[in-house]
């Protein structure tokens, strides 16, 4: 009975992982081969304005006479880069802080968590706006840094609580008895057991980073020279795309974000399901 119930779960976890990986691979391929996929050069304004979708312009043209589909393809690269890089920075800081705070008791943990709780209350989006608007220029690097350096708080909490429960387990005690140093216990013993939780968190912080970039671009504090899904929406809104009924300019960037995040969510859920399945199995034996 138990086996029959858990087996499909493992399979569904695997299917989700694969599905998510496929979606992300497509996005990665698009952002690598933008020039080959986009039918027209970046920011090319030579077409008639407000054209409806047709064979020549799959998603029509905007108020500047740019091909929306091409802009979307170039935007994919920016959004992908910002999401992945900012997500990685967030994850590294989150894991470092989380594992340290979870492993060392007393004042290290207290001090780190005090800082985290404190920063958690301060509105991150508002802080990003302040930073972004005071920085002399917002290049891609500053966007990645602003988002990456400000988003790790929830992740640190979640990694910490998982580390707390891992360090109670027998294998940590065994490693200690075997004379392993704190650092190698953290890196070689505890960290591998945290991978699924880390992956699940990585997924949500990456999703968050893509949405944060869209929000900042919409506020006009992104990188003006770069095309991203957020800047496309910002331009569409600023140029009254609604009044021209230009749904082809409004709908695709949102759907692209949704599909991109969906890929990450699939990976996150799939890895968590597999983790629970494996944990359940190992605890029974």
């Amino acid at each position: 009975m138990r086996n029959k119930r858990t087996l499909p779960r493992e399979r569904s976890g695997k299917a989700k992982l694969w599905g998510g990986a496929c979606i992300l691979l497509v996005f990665a391929a698009v952002s690598l081969a933008t020039a080959q996929i986009a039918p027209y050069p970046k920011n090319d304004m030579e077409f008639e304005v407000w054209l409806k979708p047709s064979a020549a312009h799959l998603l029509g043209t905007d108020s500047y006479g740019q091909d929306v589909f091409s802009q979307l393809v170039y935007g994919t690269r920016t959004s992908f880069l910002v999401g992945v890089l900012a997500g990685l920075i967030t994850t590294i800081i989150g894991v470092l802080v989380g594992v340290t705070a979870g492993f060392y008791r007393r004042w290290v943990s207290d001090a780190l968590m005090f800082v985290v709780d404190l920063l958690l209350i301060i509105p991150v989006m508002a802080l990003m706006i302040i930073l972004a608007s005071f920085l002399p220029s917002m290049g891609l690097t500053s966007i990645v840094l602003v988002i990456g350096l400000l988003s790790w708080l929830y992740m640190a909490r979640s990694i910490r609580s998982q580390t707390l429960s891992e360090r109670q387990r027998g294998y940590v005690e065994a490693a200690r008895v075997a004379g392993m140093s704190d650092l190698s216990i953290m890196l070689r013993e505890i960290l591998p057991n945290l991978y699924p939780i880390i992956l699940a968190n990585l997924v949500s912080v990456t999703t968050h980073a893509v949405l944060a970039e869209a929000g900042l671009s919409f506020l006009g504090i992104g990188d003006p020279k770069n095309v991203s899904w957020g800047t496309i929406l910002a331009l569409a809104h600023a140029n009254n795309a609604i009044m021209y009924d230009a749904w082809w300019w409004i709908v695709p960037p949102g759907l692209a974000t949704a599909l991109f995040c969906f890929g990450f969510i699939l990976i996150g859920n799939g890895s968590l399901e597999r983790f629970r399945y494996k944990r359940g199995a190992s605890q029974q034996t």
Partner: protein, 328 residues
């Protein structure tokens, strides 16, 4: 179920520390990133005469290079409610500009927060009680979708559909052009009519998280041992679900609810821009466009203070709802 003094003191001290951190950040960040604010003020042509720039510099201690001295002056001005003068709306003080925009934001965000929690909790409960049904799956799917799109995009789509295509609601602004000539009832009607789409957009955008959180918590609560015990005691299904399951599942949701009340002021920044709604978000946006630094800082401080205050309130109410936190 009394609140313990030591717990209350700790929470108040924590709120004070957070407030201090927010103030320090607000003071330090612009100075670290953008350099000397005195030069920034001096270079602002919007300030009119050099004498005015000089007066403001003096007021905020900018003529002295010592950061500590500047910080002291900053705190003194803050204590008097002086957030500086808005460059763009010169000579209106920042605090006045902010207070004028505040009611608009509070109105739409408070109502939408209440709405989305009510709907999210109902949908979440129903999904958790009947997991795997089409209703549950649809709710989950829609929630994940909403969580994956920029939330201002939802607003744009609703304007396109209900504002432009169907022409049921206005496409933006907080009231109609002939607002000043309207009677009191007419004004109220105009405001409500214009607020419908922003409120609905905000409610939909935040609905997803509420559904997911409550559904997860309730699903977990339903598998706890005390549910088995309640069943063994012969309690009715309805009593088990609501008094035992939902009550326990609510606790984390309550914290979330209070937190989002705190985010009321700053939570609608991009949505307000989409709807050209004259609240704090729109103000911040214009301040960014006009490089109105005092106003940006003032808006940040206002958002931070509201969050810290509501957080403290939530912490102080929590022991009455869940007596266990006092024990910690």
């Amino acid at each position: 179920m009394r609140i313990q003094p030591s717990y209350a003191v700790r929470r108040v001290a924590f709120a004070a520390a957070t407030l201090l951190a927010a103030i320090v950040m607000n003071f330090l960040l612009p100075r670290l990133i953008a350099g000397n604010p005195a030069e920034m003020i001096a270079s602002q042509t919007a300030l009119g005469s050099p004498e005015v720039a000089e007066a403001i510099k003096k007021q905020f201690g900018l003529e002295n290079d010592s950061l500590l001295y500047q910080f002291k002056q900053y705190i003194v001005q803050l204590a008097h409610g002086n957030l500086g003068i808005s460059y763009f709306n010169y000579p209106t003080p920042v605090s006045e500009v902010l207070l004028k925009a505040l009611p608009w934001t509070l109105g739409i965000v408070l109502i939408s927060t209440l709405l989305s929690y009510a709907a999210g909790w109902l949908i979440g409960i129903r999904g958790a009680l009947k997991p795997g049904t089409w209703f549950d799956n649809a709710a989950l799917g829609v929630s994940f979708f909403i969580n994956s799109v920029p939330y201002f995009w939802i607003g744009i789509l609703l304007i396109l559909l209900f504002g432009y295509k169907l022409d049921w609601f206005p496409m933006g602004q907080a009231f109609s052009v002939d607002y000043d000539s309207l009677s009191a009832a007419g004004k109220l009607r105009s405001i409500s009519y214009h607020a419908v789409l922003p409120i609905v957009s905000l409610a939909i955008a935040s609905l997803a998280s509420h559904i997911l959180v409550l559904r997860n918590n309730l699903s977990r609560a339903l598998t706890e041992d005390y549910m088995v015990l309640a069943r063994a005691k012969g309690l009715s299904g309805r009593r088990r679900t609501f008094h035992y399951g939902v009550r326990n599942a609510f606790l984390p949701s309550f914290t979330g609810f209070m937190l989002s009340l705190g985010h009321v002021v700053g939570g609608a920044i991009t949505m307000e821009i989409v709807f050209s709604y004259p609240g704090i978000g729109m103000l911040t946006y214009n301040a960014i466009l006009n490089h109105d630094y005092p106003l940006i800082q003032g808006a940040f401080l206002m958002i931070a203070v509201s969050i810290i205050a509501v957080n403290l309130l939530a912490d102080l109410i929590y022991p009455f709802i869940d007596p266990r936190v006092n024990l910690n």
